[in-house]
Symmetry: C2
């Protein structure tokens, strides 16, 4: 296998047939060209160029080699160019998705800014559900997802949305008489569980196994979708800490919400497959940050 500089030197000299011009094109000295060609010829075992101080020409072996190598080198350049375009270029297509329609506005602001900055890159906006959000990222059917943190095993950008947590309880539940509750109350009621497809880390964040003081939290039944989980709450099968947006976006007469005073806010932002960290993705995250963080 030849070194890059050997390939470049040989092919350029084969094209120019002149040491001076070859050296100039490659930004080196003629001495370098001479050395490299000589070493190549020693390696091949025969002269590649027939040269006097007046004229340089390819020998038959040299011509054969040049004809063989030129298209291969061009192909390599093209392959690398394509890879760089895929990785560094901000063109082509970018598929972004949201999970829960109430997060769509923030995503659309990001899309607008990104589209303005990169008119050559086509953006598709999709919606995914809880059950297919991770598979969509893993199989590449979407590039970026606006989702709630934590989102295990994915790269994530800065938080774009924050909201306080509230406790969903059945309408008329005794807790509704309080202004706010502490996380400690989770030790006193079964807590509805997220479905198995969500990550352990996510579940620990939303439905902890212990209260701040260390008491175990009784596990209630699990739902397959968020609506199903709220229905379980309405049925009196348990309580569920949720974001306060739920008040507005899931208005149900059979469920009431009580602020949780000592829980950190829920953060949301963009997540994507680590191995899909292309310039497109980085640029979209930057646009989302610029558009949503004042």
């Amino acid at each position: 296998m030849l070194e890059r500089h050997e390939l470049e030197t040989f092919l350029t000299l084969a094209e120019e047939l002149h040491f001076g011009r070859t050296a100039e094109r490659l930004r080196v000295t003629t001495g370098r060209i001479s050395h490299v060609v000589k070493k190549l010829e020693r390696r091949i075992g025969a002269p590649l160029f027939a040269r006097t101080s007046r004229v340089v020409q390819l020998t038959p072996i040299g011509r054969q080699l040049a004809d063989d190598l030129a298209p291969l080198v061009a192909g390599m350049d093209e392959a690398v160019r394509r890879a760089v375009e895929a990785g560094r270029g901000v063109t082509g297509r970018l598929r972004v998705a949201f999970l829960g329609e109430w997060t769509a506005p923030a995503l659309l602001k990001a899309v607008a800014l990104f589209a303005q900055r990169h008119p050559d890159c086509q953006v598709e906006v999709h919606e995914v559900q809880l059950f297919n959000s991770r598979p969509s990222l893993v199989d590449g059917s979407i590039d970026i997802l606006m989702a709630a943190y934590p989102f295990d095993g994915m790269a994530c950008g800065p938080a774009l949305l924050e909201e306080e947590r509230v406790l969903a309880v059945p309408a008329g539940h005794p807790l509704t008489r309080q202004e706010s509750v502490s996380l400690e109350v989770l030790g006193d009621h079964p807590v509805v569980q997220y479905p198995a497809v969500t990550s352990a880390e996510f579940k620990r964040d939303r439905t902890p196994e212990h209260t701040p003081s260390g008491r175990p939290v009784p596990k209630g039944p699990a739902g397959n979708t968020f609506s199903e989980m709220l229905t379980l709450v309405a049925m009196g099968r348990g309580v569920l800490p949720v974001g306060e947006h739920t008040r507005r976006y899931y208005p149900r007469p059979d469920v009431a919400y009580v602020p949780i005073r000592d829980a950190p806010p829920i953060r949301r932002g963009l997540v994507w497959r680590e191995s899909n960290t292309t310039a497109r993705v980085r640029e979209f995250v930057r646009a989302a940050t610029d558009a949503n963080v004042r």
Copy 2:
């Protein structure tokens, strides 16, 4: 354009999917692999491998690049291999030729030894004439020629045959009464000239323009072939210094030969195009030397 070590590192890792084995195969440390891959990824602008400390896999961009590059690199290796085979290998076909049948035995001894040493290389023996000897070498229709020195612009091996010079004169010429003559006598008689196709250096060696003492040598007519030149001598149009083999191989009753006492011997050996210095050629020259020089 990627460096050779980048190509090798990337493709080997894409094959092994394991830093340790890749490092072992390439005889470097794993740190090196890590550095090179990281630099490549910085250049491409996106991850090429998705790696944890347990598993290494290609990203889509990495797979695309590997699939693109692998056949090109294989093609380059193959092209270089072919060139090395043409330059360094002693196989294929070698065309050797003699000029003047009396030199054939020395050439055939060389052919025999070469064929014994390199049974995989087919040798063809041809005969050329004065007028087409140089063109045959230049256009590649023969690789090596057994010829008299000097042979301008060609590479040559060690002298294989030496012979004393004699002066060809018309039968009954006054010089035939002498045991030997000096080169000085060339100043006293027209000298038959070699044809224009022969090189200036060769003509200076055979038909000098000045005697050793500096007197000019009168130029006689030129012949197109050696027989023609001897005929001019027979016709009394001039004299001609020749090798003593002429006595035996051109026995003519109308030409006599007188030894020249102060001329260096005529040397013959193998000549070939400088740009055709392949291993085949070098090996044939070596065989010829071994077979003919005691």
